[in-house]
Subunit: 236 residues, 2 copies
Amino acid sequence: MKSAAKAQQAEDSTDTGAQQIRDAIREAIVERRLSPGTKLSESDVGNLFNVSRTLARAALQALSYEGLVSVEKNRGAFVAYPSPEEARQIFSARRLVEPGILREAAARITPDDITHLRQLLLEEGRLMSERGQTARRAEIKASGDFHLTLAVISGNSIMQRFMEELVARSSLVIALYGQSTASSCGHSEHGDIVSAIEADELDRACQLMLHHIAHIEADLDLRERKSLGLKEAFEL
Amino acid sequence: MKSAAKAQQAEDSTDTGAQQIRDAIREAIVERRLSPGTKLSESDVGNLFNVSRTLARAALQALSYEGLVSVEKNRGAFVAYPSPEEARQIFSARRLVEPGILREAAARITPDDITHLRQLLLEEGRLMSERGQTARRAEIKASGDFHLTLAVISGNSIMQRFMEELVARSSLVIALYGQSTASSCGHSEHGDIVSAIEADELDRACQLMLHHIAHIEADLDLRERKSLGLKEAFEL
DNA sequence: GGCGGCCAGATTGTATACGATGTTTTGCAC
DNA sequence: GTGCAAAACATCGTATACAATCTGGCCGCC
């Protein structure tokens, strides 16, 4: 039972209440219920979660550090609106670290982990064939989770956190500049990578990963989409 | 005294006041004026910088996110005390990203950059031959600045921030587990790397970088230096 | 004498209050 | 109607206040 992909939930280090809010907003951003540029005023966020501005502020600050929201002095916080240059840097960083993470993960991977990955792929594929906003959002999340899970398996919590940030910001970039409506990742490519890992063909797996990232990047163009502002994003 | 208040610059990214405090504390940690495990109570920090707990808290939170301080719920903030496992992860991450950064940097490097790097090395060497706490601290900082500067040259601000975190945390690790008293980095190795870059021998530069990191790591004694957690202390 | 509970001090967690700084709107002159 | 200025508004920046929680010591009870 030493699946490396299990220790995820140990987070506690910072505050109490702010954490929840931060995670909720981050999830909303990653799933694209919150679009880039959406204003996140401290009061509004506080009211939404029934906490004071203090906690809302702390959450927004944390997200700002992750690059998911940008706070402008005396003006407010907004869901980050990555510039094309930032987008380039994000994917450059991913090309730089993901092969390395992949190698580390491959070195420590267990059968349990592979099972877990395959399960993720299955889920991803299922969501991909469905219709509707909800399925689409879940698919986006699942797609990112694949990359994230590799980082978890690598056993390096620092790289894991870093990948979390990169995946989240990628989602933002894709929301802004992605052309093909559907997924943030070619689904089949994920499967190919797992297969390559299973076959112990590390170099090929890395190549596949690089191609995969390149494919995502190739789907980008400079365009803009409409937001669905904060209130609609959270109420049921 | 506000000896720490030196930079009157108009920082912008996050808040106003908290930024200064965060930077001041971070610098103190990196230069090892603050030892791992030192308690940083919000009130004390606030008093030191003549601000309220609100700002002190924000600064500590930010540092917590960088992994330089660990805050324990309802107990307070402490200068991080990296475990051997964390130390391994930090250097593993460095091995993973620094060659990549090096390659990117080499691709974009300008003669000015090389001059800058050489100047850094000179300064580093000068400090190395001096005696005294102040020189030692400056040397530590300069040594880290070399790696950081490479990240700056790479032009990727995300990797730059990441390296900032890794270098800072490395300093903590070295403070805890380093054996050879002196520097955090073999100075000559830095020079060799620059030379290799200048000679366009990229692969060799990467190899040198890896060896360099390995050397730093080899100087560590990843055994406990102080308390080892009470449970581990009595079982085994 | 040892042990458990209770009270006091300290420290963090969260909320609210007030001042500072932009942004928008209004009103007036031209 | 247009343009500028000043006030009203909204929002953030920081400080302070109060509640919750932890720590450590004191005291009575066994």
